[in-house]
Amino acid sequence: MLKALAARLRQGRRTIAFPDPAPSLSDRFRGRPLLDQAKCAEPCSACADACPTDAITRDGGELRLDLGRCLFCRECVDACPEGALSYTHDHRLATRGRADLVLGSGAFRLATAFGEESRRLFGRSLKLRQVSAGGCNGCEADVNVLNTVVFDLGRFGIEFVASPRHADGLLITGALSENMMLALEKTYAAVPPPKIVVAVGACAISGGPFLDHPEVHNGAQDLVPIDLYVPGCPPHPLTILDGLLRLLGRM
């Protein structure tokens, strides 16, 4: 007992403040990409050619990057001779709409809050069931981390529950393998309405690295309606936390 108390004192308080002050991340952390349209010279397509998931396109002279497909690797950054693409340290990436994930020349639209009724229902207590459906377990790992003392998800009233019947919604990871179709369908049906769905990671949004494999369904959106998209491969725990709190109108 005394040893446990001594250890407790030595370990100290480890819960980080959130959202203020801004969290400190590795100086090499790859957050929201920055596109410098002025530097991008047609007809070059080096970045698009290098992208492993075809996330980069050019439409009427506008360079576009789909965060829903982006693996946050450095292939495009290294390929561009003009330095038109770079990564910022901004971890805030979640959106409400699929189209909002496409970066272009316009302003990036971060997730907005639910309507008043949903905020009344979920704003102070949100219970989620996680479904892992054909990914690499990276997203699951960084979702799980939110339950550690560092992020202490419980203080925001958000909790992962054991059964879909106890949940207000699903948090889905993975490209939706054919082998998980039925299980996801049943789990979604088991959540009592009104219910929400959060798609975490490139796989759940677009198929990610497994995009267009016949074994997967390119993410969950054709099976269930999605309320929040959290891009990344995997997204940083802070990106997920930021997205959830935005949805609840608490950011």
Binding site: A7, G134, C136, N137, N147, G174, N179, G208, F210
Partner: protein, 504 residues
């Protein structure tokens, strides 16, 4: 010659791999396994004609050598499994991928539930009603008045990957556990054919997200060997450091999760945080907590300057003090000892027979570790001592992890203090044609085995991936026999196997 001998990361011409008659192939594999070799890989690959090539890669850890032999089968061949238990899962995979029937296989069922890769074939031999729907199989059933069945998954209670477990129980006692996987199957091996392409390295980093460094290193070793590329010393060291940081993070997380499963919350919460501290050290090196983007063919994509090295060492020392405190608290606690000791025991004999690897095998007293037996990269020059324990139970699996944490930390400290100067990457070169290479890396779960084969144009004609979990899932099933069903989560966590690494 009945098998071609080779070392880890040594390319050999495909023509050097002997093609034997089925009987001779079987006799060779069985004799080698009886003589102490372990099956590192056993897989099919498509041939131009009607048949499928069957390749066996055997590992002799005490000699540090590998051997490879092959045969050709068309529809069926006499299974190895009745005489060699460790072939069991491999032969089920061969049957499913290539629609070949291993005759006399006692437990022939799909392992991933997908249609066969061979054109014109549908349904794997052994699939229930020819179906390849996940979880539809002829599950083993124990009959009797007081016998009941408990089904778990594929959607679990925690934030975990999907898998289906069926437990046959008599009261609280588990008579048998059957494990059905495949829910994470996303067709990676199939997609790798014809590569390397621009997605290849990303497939490697997402085979098992928590082993991104381990699998990416195994892949890079394989293609570097095929291309005849020599990795700079500094890159070898940084790869080794990243591999050990991955081990530190996962072992620490596992000890915390084991503490959580027996309700010992102090260590559960401390280790949860400390695991993240190790992940953040990897992020300090390359920006990603999982080491994404770090390991690339030819070397590493990020260097560490002196200041960063200093910061790494400082963080390592601070984390280690806290891990030591948290783990001592756990292992000294009598109520924890009571739950860990003699729970989920596995004998060394069972471990050898099943061909188990990694901390699970070392917790049964087996001296096996690819860093020691088949060293590659920096491990050729700087050895990490083997960590073993003899009791084969949950305690042993926890204790071996703690021993390995200390030794990995010592390794990282030593390597960062003597980081060689020089470049971190060399240019990529095309792969040699018609060659085969076996690449082994000791990931935190155990031996990662990649086998790459190229065609006449130097493209990948087959890329076989064997995650350590592929060997070890059967070990969990056996360890659970005779145990209380309430100890299933604890036993499962003490193995902590990968679903995605298995399902591919």
């Amino acid at each position: 010659m009945t098998a071609r001998s080779l070392r880890n990361g040594q390319p050999v011409p495909l023509d050097d791999v002997p093609v034997l008659g089925v009987e001779e192939f079987r006799r060779g594999v069985l004799a080698a396994v009886a003589g102490g070799a372990r099956i590192a890989a056993l897989f099919g690959h498509p041939l131009d004609g009607a048949g499928v090539g069957l390749i066996a890669v055997l590992a002799r850890g005490n000699e540090g050598t590998l051997s490879v032999s092959s045969t050709v089968v068309v529809d069926a061949y006499p299974a190895l499994t009745p005489e060699c238990a460790q072939a069991h899962w491999f032969e089920r995979e061969v049957a499913e991928q290539w629609s070949i029937r291993p005759l006399g296989h006692p437990w022939l069922k799909p392992i991933r539930f997908h249609p066969p890769y061979r054109a014109g074939r549908d349904g794997a031999p052994g699939a229930a009603g020819g179906s390849c729907r996940a979880g539809v199989a002829d599950f083993f059933r124990v009959e009797g008045g007081e016998v009941h069945e408990v089904g778990v998954g594929p959607v679990h209670a925690g934030v975990i990957e999907p898998g289906h477990f069926r437990l046959q129980c008599h009261g609280e006692q588990v008579l048998h556990l059957e494990i059905a996987l495949g829910y994470q199957h996303r067709g990676v091996e199939r997609a790798l054919l014809g590569g390397p392409g621009k997605r290849t390295i990303h497939y490697m980093e997402t085979l098992a997200g928590d082993t991104s460094v381990g699998h990416a290193t195994a892949y890079c070793q394989a293609v570097e060997a095929l291309a005849g590329a020599a990795v700079p010393a500094r890159a070898d060291v940084l790869r080794g450091v990243a591999l050990e940081l991955e081990r530190l993070a996962n072992h620490t997380g596992d000890l915390g999760a084991l503490a959580g499963d027996v309700g010992y919350l102090p260590t559960a919460s401390y280790c949860g945080r400390l695991r993240g501290d190790f992940l953040n050290m990897t992020a300090l090196v390359c920006g990603s907590r999982f080491g994404r983007g770090l390991i690339r063919p030819g070397g590493v994509a990020f260097d560490v300057e002196a200041e960063r090295t200093g910061e790494l060492v400082e963080r390592l020392e601070r984390a280690l003090i806290d891990v030591a405190g948290a783990v001592r608290l756990l292992l000294d606690e009598p109520s924890v000892q009571a739950r860990f000791e003699e729970t989920g025991p596995l004998s060394a004999e069972a471990c050898v027979a099943l061909g188990l690897v990694g901390p699970v095998a070392r917790a049964c007293g087996l001296q096996c570790d690819a860093r020691h037996d088949f060293p590659s990269g920096i491990f050729r020059f700087s050895q990490v001592p083997l960590s073993t324990w003899h009791s084969g139970d949950v305690f042993a699996r926890a204790y071996v992890r703690w021993l390995e944490i200390q030794r990995s930390a010592a390794f990282v400290r030593e390597q960062l203090a003597t980081l060689p100067e020089g470049p971190t990457r060399v240019e990529r070169k095309p792969l040699g044609a018609e060659a085969l290479v076996v690449s082994l890396v000791e990931g935190w779960r155990g031996e990662i085995c990649h086998v790459a084969m190229t065609d006449a144009r130097g493209r990948l004609s087959r890329y076989k991936i064997v995650d350590p979990s592929f060997h070890n899932w059967m070990g969990l099933a056996i360890a659970l026999r005779g145990q209380q069903i309430s100890d299933f989560p604890l036993c499962n966590k003490s193995f902590n196997l990968s679903y995605c690494g298995h399902d591919l």
